[in-house]
Symmetry: C2
Subunit: 100 residues, 2 copies
């Protein structure tokens, strides 16, 4: 069954306490070269039908409206499994996370 991956990250302006906790743990392990960690979500959505642009557009819309909270999160990528990543929406650092 074809699968779409949706990736959602907390906005750059937010503190992201979960990511901070992971970064703190890395520092305590002596891994201080890893300066910042942000923790987001990754959805794998299996679907019936064709893996075409219309499906991608539908999932992109769902990702914005339902799978993410646009007040605190950005949808950084919506792409088919096995295909090159397609960046969608602003990345946390203002640059695309993954080039197509």
């Amino acid at each position: 069954m074809p699968t779409i991956v949706v990736e959602v990250m907390p906005k750059a302006v937010l503190l992201d306490p979960q990511g901070k906790a992971v970064a703190g743990a890395l520092h305590r392990l002596g891994k201080s070269r890893f300066t910042d960690v942000r923790l987001g979500k990754r959805f794998e959505i299996a679907f019936e039908g064709d893996a075409n642009e219309a499906t991608l557009a539908e999932v992109r819309e769902l990702a914005e409206s339902m799978l993410s909270n646009s007040v605190i999160e950005d949808v950084v990528s919506v792409h088919f499994v096995g295909s090159g990543s397609q960046t969608d929406g602003a990345h946390v650092a203002g640059t695309p996370v993954e080039a197509s």
Copy 2:
């Protein structure tokens, strides 16, 4: 600053209640062609130094030991931002999530 992305998904044998809840919500919205949803984590790790194979190997080790719980989760990908995805570890469906 270079960034590495680590993607972690619940193992296929697990029920993943969060994913099930999202799938249920999609069905209630009439989007019944989306048959299954699984919800995992996506880490963005910023680091100082070179984006080389040694760094990737170090993060891969950290991903297995610290960023995921190997009893219930698989590390599906560890890759640099902007580079092609590199599959690492078994995928939930037993096939690579993202080809390199």
